[in-house]
C-alpha cells in the first residue's frame, strides 16, 4: 500500500484535531501537541481503485512559526489548510502557512478547509476573500467536524490530488 505524509495546518482552535479525531486510527493522545507540537494519526483512504495510507501530521496551531514546526513539513506530499468559518483572522494565518510552505520550495497539492460550517449563522468570513483564493486556484471545501460534513470527502479529494501529482 502506498503511504503519504500529509499535514494539517492552520491557526489555533480552528478544529484541526477535531476534524480528524473521529476519522482516524490513533494511539497517541492530544498531549503531544503541547509537548512536541505535533500529533500523528493514520487513515487509509481509497482513491483511484487503490488504498492509500495517509500519515496525518496534525501540527500545533500556534500563530507564530517556530523552527521545529516548520521542519515537520519536510517530506509532506500534501496538506490541508484549515480555517474557522467564524473567525476571519484564521484565513490570514492559513495564508501565512501557505506562504511558508512555498518559501521552503515546496509546491504541493493542498485544500483549504473552511471548518465549523455547522455554525451557519455565525459565519464571518469575507466572501470576497474566498472568491479571491478560489480564483488563485485554491480548492475550498466547507467542512464540519461536528456533523462530519465533507470530512471523508476532503481526505479522498486530497488523496486523489496526491496521486495525480505522483503521476
Amino acid at each position: 500500500m502506498i503511504a503519504k505524509k500529509v499535514c494539517l495546518l492552520g491557526s489555533f482552535a480552528v478544529g484541526k484535531s477535531s476534524l480528524i479525531r473521529r476519522f482516524v486510527e490513533s494511539i497517541f493522545s492530544d498531549k503531544y501537541h503541547t509537548t512536541i507540537g505535533v500529533k500523528i494519526d493514520k487513515k487509509v483512504v481509497r482513491s483511484q481503485d487503490q488504498d492509500v495510507q495517509l500519515m496525518i501530521w496534525d501540527i500545533e496551531g500556534k500563530d507564530e512559526f517556530s523552527t521545529y514546526r516548520q521542519s515537520y513539513l519536510r517530506g509532506a506530499a500534501g496538506y490541508f489548510l484549515v480555517v474557522d468559518g467564524t473567525r476571519p483572522d484564521s484565513v490570514s494565518v492559513a495564508k501565512e502557512w501557505h506562504d511558508m510552505v512555498l518559501q521552503q520550495g515546496l509546491k504541493l497539492p493542498f485544500i483549504l478547509l473552511v471548518n465549523k460550517s455547522d455554525l451557519f449563522y455565525d459565519q464571518r468570513l469575507n466572501e470576497d476573500d474566498l472568491v479571491e483564493l478560489s480564483s488563485m486556484g485554491w480548492e475550498i471545501l466547507l467542512t464540519s467536524a461536528k456533523t462530519g460534513e465533507n470530512v471523508d470527502y476532503a481526505f479522498e479529494r486530497l488523496t486523489t490530488k496526491l496521486l495525480e501529482n505522483n503521476e
Binding site: I2, S26, I40, Q53, Y68, G75
Partner: protein, 591 residues
C-alpha cells in the same frame, strides 16, 4: 509551367537572382521559422549548442541507465585528486563543516559506550560474584573487564524499523519472534517528529540527530543516515556490537536502496527485499546459562558438613555427661564440698573442701572413668569441725540477705528469716549441705517470690497508677451530665484510691495527689469550653468526696478543648485522671 520557365531564364541570366529564387522556394516550403532557426544555429558554436541541452540530456540518460555515472566517475576522481594535490586548503575549507560534526559524533558515541561499560564494571567489581569472575577470567586468559562485559550483557533486539528520513514513513519492519508493537507505522512517524523536535530545539547542527531513547530497561537505538533511519527497539543492555551492526546495516541499505530512497513516492513494496539485510539486526544475547541439574558437589559438601556437625554435637553431649557424672560423684562423697570448679576441655579443675575423716579425692577417683577429662583436684582438708567451718560461708555461697539467721543446732543446720523461693529450693536440695549436716531445718524460714516485698509494693503501685490513669469519664453534649453507666466507675476508683493510699504509706510515696482534668469538644467557644471542662472535673471530684475521699488529695482543673486532640468529637467530652506529686521536693524519690 510558369515556374519552370522562369527558373530556367533566371539561372542562365544571373547566379544572384537564382539564389533569391532558391530562398523564396525554401521559404515557401519550410516556412518563416526555418530562417530564424538556421540563423540561430549558424550564430552558435558547437559548445554553446551542447551547453544548452547538456543538463537535460544527462538527466534523461541517467533515467535509462548508469552509463553517465560510469563515464564521469574517473573524471571526477581525477578532478578530486588534482584538487587535493594542488589546492588542499580549498578542500579542507569545504569539508570542514561536515567532518567536524562527524568526528564529534563518533567520539561522543565511543565515550558514551565506554562510560556505560565502565559503569557496569564498577557496579559489579566488589561483589562475591565479581571475585568468582576474576578467577574465571584468569582461567580463561581474558582481561577481567572483557569477562565482565561478557557476563553482564543481556539484551534482545525486538524490532527493527527502517524509516524514510524525509517523510517519516515506515518503509519496512522486522520483528523478533513473538514480539508485537501497537502500530509501528505511527511509532515511526512519531519517532521522526520527536527526533526533529530534539534536533531543532537543542542542536544547531542539522546533521546531528537523536541517538537513543531509554525508558526503564527499554532502549530505542537510532541510527540516522542521509536518507533513512534505522531504529532498533532493544530490551536490556545492548553491547557495542548492536550499534555496529545497525550502522553497517544502514550503510548497506543506503548502498542498495539509494535510488529508491531518493525517489520515494509512498510505494513501499520495493523495501520488502530489505528483510534479508535487516534480520541480522535482531540480535539476542543471554547471560551465562547455569547448569540446572542435581548439584552433587554441593549436596556432598552439605552432607559432610552435617556429619561433622553431628559428630561434634555428639562429642559435646558425651563430654557434658561425663563432666556431670564426675561432679555428681564428688558431690555425693560424704564430707566433700566443691568450693570452686573450672573446665576447659580436656582440663577439669575442682577445688574440694573435706573433713580429715573423708577419703582423699585421688583415692575416690581411682576407679572412675573420667575420659575425656583430665581431672585436677585441689584438695583442702578442713582444719576444724567441718560443720562449724562451713557455717559462716553459707550466706555467701547461697547469696542470702542480711536479715537471714543461720544456726547450728547439734548437727542440724537451722535457717531463719525471709529468703527468696529460688534460694529456699537451692538450700533444701543442696548435696553439699546434706553431706555435711545431718539435716537442714527451714521451718523458721519464710520464702517469698523473686521480688522483695518492697519491690512487690512498688510494682503494685505502678499497676494501680496505670489503672487509675486509664480511667475516662465521658459526658453528654454541652452538659456536666455523665453518659449513662459512667458513674459506675466511681466505686472501683474509690477502692483503688484507698489501696493507693495504703500502699503510699507503706512504700512510702510522698506528696501525691489525684489530678482530675476536664475537657470539652471543639463545639463551643474557648471560654465556654474552659468553663464546662472545669465543671466536669469538679463533678468527678465531688463524687469522689461523697465517697469519703479526702478533698486535699483531689485537684480538679478544666483544660477546655485540645485543638490537636486525635480523639473523635464525642470522646473529647471527658474527664481524665493522673497521679501526680505536688509539691515536688528536691531530694525526694517519687515512684
Amino acid at each position: 509551367m510558369t515556374v519552370s520557365t522562369s527558373t530556367s531564364s533566371t539561372s542562365s541570366d544571373s547566379p544572384i537572382s537564382s539564389q533569391d529564387e532558391l530562398d523564396r522556394l525554401r521559404q515557401l516550403v519550410l516556412g518563416p521559422d526555418y530562417e530564424q532557426a538556421l540563423r540561430t544555429m549558424l550564430s552558435q558554436s558547437d559548445t554553446e549548442r551542447i551547453a544548452a541541452t547538456i543538463s537535460e540530456a544527462i538527466i534523461q540518460r541517467n533515467l535509462s541507465d548508469k552509463s553517465v555515472a560510469q563515464a564521469l566517475a574517473p573524471i571526477i576522481d581525477d578532478a578530486i585528486d588534482n584538487a587535493i594535490k594542488y589546492r588542499p586548503q580549498r578542500i579542507t575549507r569545504v569539508i570542514y563543516p561536515i567532518i567536524g560534526p562527524s568526528i564529534r559524533k563518533s567520539v561522543a558515541r565511543a565515550l558514551a559506550d565506554m562510560v556505560q561499560n565502565l559503569n557496569q564494571i564498577l557496579e559489579s567489581s566488589l561483589s562475591l560474584r565479581a571475585w568468582g569472575w576474576r578467577y574465571q577470567a584468569w582461567r580463561a586468559g581474558m582481561k577481567y573487564g572483557e569477562y565482565v562485559l561478557l557476563k553482564t550483557l543481556d539484551f534482545r533486539v525486538e524490532q527493527v524499523l527502517l524509516i524514510h528520513r524525509e517523510t517519516g514513513i515506515l518503509l519496512h519492519a522486522e520483528n523478533a519472534a513473538g514480539f508485537q508493537t501497537e502500530d509501528p507505522e505511527l511509532v515511526s512517524s512519531m519517532l521522526t517528529a520527536v527526533s526533529d523536535f530534539v534536533t531543532d530545539s537543542f542542536s544547531r547542527h542539522p546533521d546531528t540527530s537523536l541517538d537513543n531513547i531509554r525508558v526503564g530497561d527499554f532502549i530505542l537505538e537510532i541510527e540516522t543516515g542521509p536518507s533513512a533511519i534505522l531504529a532498533a527497539a532493544i530490551r536490556g543492555t545492548p553491547s557495542e556490537k548492536v550499534s555496529q551492526v545497525l550502522r553497517h546495516t544502514l550503510e548497506r541499505l543506503h548502498l542498495v536502496f539509494s535510488r529508491e530512497f531518493d525517489r520515494f513516492n509512498g510505494d513501499r513494496a520495493i523495501f520488502d527485499s530489505a528483510s534479508h539485510l535487516m534480520r541480522p539486526c535482531l540480535l539476542t544475547q543471554h547471560k551465562e546459562d547455569f547448569y540446572i541439574g542435581t548439584p552433587w558437589l554441593a549436596l556432598t559438601a552439605i552432607a559432610l558438613l552435617l556429619a561433622y556437625g553431628g559428630w561434634e554435637s555428639y562429642q559435646k553431649v558425651q563430654n557434658e555427661i561425663s563432666y556431670r557424672h564426675i561432679l555428681e560423684y564428688i558431690r555425693t562423697t560424704p564430707g566433700y564440698v566443691i568450693v570452686d570448679e573450672s573446665k576447659e576441655l580436656p582440663h577439669l579443675r575442682l577445688e574440694i573442701l573435706r573433713p580429715p575423716s573423708s577419703p582423699p579425692p585421688n583415692q575416690r577417683l581411682a576407679g572412675l572413668k573420667t575420659a575425656p577429662w583430665q581431672v585436677n583436684i585441689v584438695d583442702h582438708v578442713a582444719p576444724l569441725n567441718m560443720r562449724e567451718y562451713l557455717l559462716p560461708l553459707i550466706p555467701e555461697m547461697f547469696h542470702l540477705g542480711q536479715g537471714v539467721e543461720i544456726e547450728l543446732n547439734d548437727q542440724t543446720l537451722a535457717i531463719k528469716g525471709l529468703i527468696k523461693e529460688s534460694q529456699y529450693r537451692e538450700i533444701e536440695h543442696s548435696p553439699m549441705l546434706q553431706s555435711v549436716y545431718s539435716s537442714v531445718d527451714l521451718s523458721a524460714a519464710q520464702s517469698y517470690p523473686e521480688q522483695s516485698p518492697k519491690e512487690q509494693q512498688l510494682s503494685q503501685w505502678y499497676r494501680l497508677k496505670a489503672k487509675i490513669e486509664n480511667i475516662r469519664f465521658q459526658f453528654q453534649p454541652n452538659t456536666t451530665n455523665l453518659v449513662a453507666g459512667e458513674e459506675q466507675k466511681i466505686p472501683e476508683l474509690v477502692a483503688d484510691l484507698n489501696t493507693a493510699l495504703s500502699l503510699a504509706e507503706e512504700i512510702p510515696v510522698y506528696h501525691w495527689q489525684l489530678y482530675i482534668v476536664g475537657y470539652a469538644n471543639s463545639a463551643g467557644s474557648d471560654n465556654a469550653n474552659i468553663k464546662i471542662s472545669e465543671a466536669r472535673a469538679k463533678l468527678i471530684s465531688e463524687l469522689l468526696q461523697a465517697n469519703h475521699m479526702d478533698a486535699s488529695l483531689l485537684l480538679a482543673w478544666g483544660a477546655g478543648n485540645l485543638p490537636d486532640s486525635r480523639l473523635p468529637e464525642h470522646q473529647q467530652r471527658m474527664v481524665s485522671l493522673q497521679l501526680i506529686h505536688s509539691p515536688i521536693i528536691l531530694g525526694t524519690e517519687y515512684p
